[in-house]
Structures are given as C-alpha cells and as structure tokens.
Amino acid sequence: MKVNHREINPDKRIAMIAAMELKGYRSCFVGIGIPSDTACLAKDTIEPNINLIYESGAIGAMPKTKSYSTGSPSIAHRSDMITDSFSVFSDLQAGRIDVGLLSAAQIDIFGNLNSTVIGGYQNPKVRMVGSGGAHDIACLIPNLIILMPHDPRRFVEKVDFITSPGSGAAFDKLRVKYQLGKGPSILITDKAKFVMSPSGWNLDSILDDFTYEEAVEGIPWKLSVSNKRIKIDQDILSKVDSISGL
C-alpha cells in the first residue's frame, strides 16, 4: 500500500509516529486527546503489552468513542481497574510507570512546556487551564515523549511560563539532585521526530513525503539537517482510522 502521508490529517500523523516510540514499554501515563489516542493505537498494533493509565484512576481502557475528560464514561467502561488518582500519582512518583505522553500550548528548545499563561503570570494575554497533572508527569516519569502539532506559534525560544519542566542544560542537574525522571527525550510533530541533547532538540528524522524545510518551518531553534526518514509501520497505518478520537 503506497500512501501519501500529506493526505493524512496532522493529528493522525502525530499519533502514528509517536505510537512507534511506545514499543517495549509496559505502562503509559496518558491524558485525553492525542496522547490517549497514540497509546491506544500502539496497544492495538505494535505494543499490545502496554497498559494505559489515566490520572482519574482508570487503567486498561481502550475508549471506543471520543472522550472529553480523563474521567469520561468511555475511560471507565471496560477498563481493567479503577483505582483513585492518589494511587496513580503515587505509582508515578515511585517510578512505577514507564512512559508518559504530554502536549501543551508552547514548547521551547529544552522541552519546557507551557499550559498556564501566554504573557506574564500576573497579567496574561491568555490565561489557560494550568498544569493539571502535566507538571507532575514531566517531573516524575522516567521517559517522556512530547506530542505537538506543527503550529509555529507553539514553538518558541523560551516559553512564557514553565508549567512542565524540560531537560537538557536547563534542568538535567536538578533532575538528578531531586531524583526526578530524565525529562523529555523525544518530540513528535506531524512532520518529524526530534531528540533531546544537552543543548536542546535535534532533528532526528522526517516523515515520508515531507521536506526538511517543512519539518523545521517556523521553529526558532537551530536545527541541523537530517536525511533519516520515518517509515510508518503498516499495521499502524492500516489501523489509525479506527482510533476513536482521531
């Protein structure tokens, strides 16, 4: 099956690329939206052994309809376990959950994420929803993958507010000192994959049918060229349309 990836919608492209990163993990802390959809896609294809954990306390759901809240009926329905948020966050802090997926309104070169305010904290241009569990996941999860639609306004030199701390030079030492997770190591957009280095994100590979220029367009960080191509797993490609939220 030959597919032109440009014809697939951006959310699905993110989910497909990111799903491939979940291979080998056993437990995944997910929020509603693309993170949840990505994990469902991975579980349905290349990583059936991954357990989806929602902060509402539901574990093991595979929502069949669009979910609005991490506590929605589709998340509770036919889950394997319903515990409480305290228990899930305790497991998170104890290092018992393998990998997390996060998105945000803004991201910078060190993977700092902002979901709090655009502008200053006291007098913002836009006041957003706040951390929720994002700060907690970004601090504590051993492995963190960031998912971002390729909207240049989201990619900034420095986020207006660090809701969820990144890694690299910014926080690596403090992360060791405070026994935190190692912070974001992978960034997936709808066109490319980036990996974290001490000096920030490097372009790792580009989705088939997209150019280097498209992959880095509007991103304010210095990014070297990469010729590596992302090939979507056939099983993922064939099942992406069946994931409820996508």
Partner: protein, 297 residues
C-alpha cells in the same frame, strides 16, 4: 442510629457558611452540580473552593460572584476549552487564586486526611510553578539528606460530593471513577453527600466494599436523582458532552451566561424541575449511553 437524611436547603444552610473552604467532589464522573448550585441559590458568599481538576461547575460558581478564592490544579472545560468566567475574574482581579498541580492538590488533601501538616514530595522543585506558590517550603530527609518540597496539608471545612447511593445512617456507596473525590471528602471536617437513591442498610451490608465513607463521618445525605447532570453517574446515566460544548460558547458572553444560570440554577429550585429541564428525551438517551442504566454495550 442517627439519621443523616436531610432536605437540600437545610443540609447546605446548616453546614456551609460564608468564608468556608469547600472541597467539591467529582472527577469527570459524579460532579455534584445540583447540590453545589444550592450555594448559589442561597447566595452563600466569600467562599474558597478547591479540588485538583475543576470543570464548569467551578466556572458557574465564579460567575455567580460567591467565590473569594480558587485553589486548583487545573481549571477548564475538559477537551472543549477554557473556564471563561475564571479567566474574566482572574483578569479583573475579582478572585484570589492558589495554583498547584493535580498531584500536589491531592497530596495536600492526603496530608489533611492523615492528620499531618505536610507530606514530602519530589514535585514542585523545578519550573515556574514553585516560585508562584509563595509559601511553599522545602524539607530535607533526615535519613538520606534528600531534598523534597514540603506539600502543606489542605483541610476543607466542608466537602460536597455526589455518589450512587447511601442508607439513611450515612453509609455512602460509590463505584466507577473516583479521582480525588473520596480523598477530598475524608480530608474535610463535614461531608455532605447527594445520592441518586437511598437504599436500605441491609443492601449496604451485602457489599460493604462499595462503601467509601463510613456513616459516622457523614454530616448529611440528600437524595438528588440526576444531581450530577451534565456529568455522569456510572450505572445511572451517561455524560452530556453536548451540554459542556454548548457551555463553552455561551459562557464566553456574560449576559448569555447569566441567562443560563437563571435557567439552570436559580429557577430550578427543586430537583424535579432540574429533571424536567434536562428533558425526558435527553434523560432517556443518557440512560442508554455508556455507563447508563440502559447501556447494553
């Protein structure tokens, strides 16, 4: 046994006062809309409200002008958008905020539930949040020298929660998504619970594992079927996602929101009117939805 059954008016009137700190239950599931709306109808003001993830019920309380302070980890309309009334109040400085994260709010309640001042935690040590919580302090482990943030306890005066069922003595049974509802209730001095139905104590004893708050901790039980609408109650009715979506657009406009609050809060001053307002057809469709009584999936 002491009977804990009460009508809605008295349960709120006798147990909630101006200046109280109130924990409001419901994590997507079991949000105590109708019970909490009574605060607006009785115009009890200067209230502080807290929970981890807050949705449109917080927005409605803020819009009604009875809130002094919001203590939260998240505030919005999940997936749909922002909390517009919160954002207006924030912009015009008509409320105080104390902004945490979901985990830290839950740990604050957990500390209160355990009867201690603080719990050590690894979070809130890096990023911009810690410096905006001006009173947060550090603590050093006396065993390893490890540096932690000291998450201070948060002990609400009253918890308002909704559950599936209770007996008249106050044994409360709940199932499905809990989130931080039970944690917040157990942390609070007084606990007021609205339920879909009152059941016999005999039925409680048939499944004591479903009981999540013991009778001696409960202040009052109020029977309010459909009291969690537009959120949902596992085993009773599904979530009215469309209501949340409509709320996003109408709440952007203050006069439209005022009309909504009159229609859905002020004028529906008994639960039968609320059920009527939801509508027979919509109720049937929600009973057939995921997790509803008539759900056959």
């Amino acid at each position: 046994m002491i009977e804990k059954l009460s009508n809605l008016h008295d349960a709120i009137k006798k147990n909630v006062s101006s200046d109280d700190l109130i924990f409001i239950g419901g994590f997507g599931h079991l949000i105590p809309f109708y019970l909490t709306h009574e605060l607006i109808r009785q115009n009890i003001n200067n209230l502080s409200i807290c929970r981890s993830g807050a949705d449109i019920l917080f927005d409605q309380l803020i819009a009604s002008g009875i809130i002094k302070k919001v203590i939260f980890g998240y505030i919005g309309n999940p997936t749909v958008g922002l909390s517009h009334s919160f954002n207006r109040a924030y912009k015009f400085n008509t409320i105080e905020i104390e902004e945490w994260t979901n985990q830290s709010i839950i740990m604050r309640l957990h500390a209160a539930r355990m009867g201690i001042d603080f719990i050590p935690s690894k979070i809130l040590q890096i990023g911009d949040l810690p410096e905006n919580i001006q009173f947060i302090k550090k603590i050093i482990s006396p065993y390893t020298g490890q540096e932690y943030s000291a998450i201070p306890s948060l002990k609400p005066d009253v918890a308002l929660i909704h559950a599936q069922q209770a007996d008249k003595y106050g044994n409360v049974q709940m199932w499905g998504i809990d989130g931080d509802t039970v944690e917040g209730a157990l942390a609070s001095d007084r606990i007021i619970v609205s339920v879909e139905r009152i059941i016999d104590n005999k039925e409680i004893k048939e499944s004591p594992e479903k009981t999540i708050i013991p009778s001696h901790r409960v202040t009052n039980i109020v029977e309010l079927p459909w009291g969690a609408y537009p959120s949902y109650v596992s085993g009773f009715y599904s979530r009215d996602d469309q209501h949340y979506i409509s709320y996003d657009s109408l709440s952007r406009n203050e006069s439209e929101l005022e009309r909504y609050l009159n229609e859905w809060v002020i004028n529906v001053d008994n639960i039968e009117l609320y059920m009527e307002k939801i509508g027979k057809e919509n109720r049937l469709s929600l009973e057939k939805g995921l997790c509803g009584t008539l759900d056959e999936s």
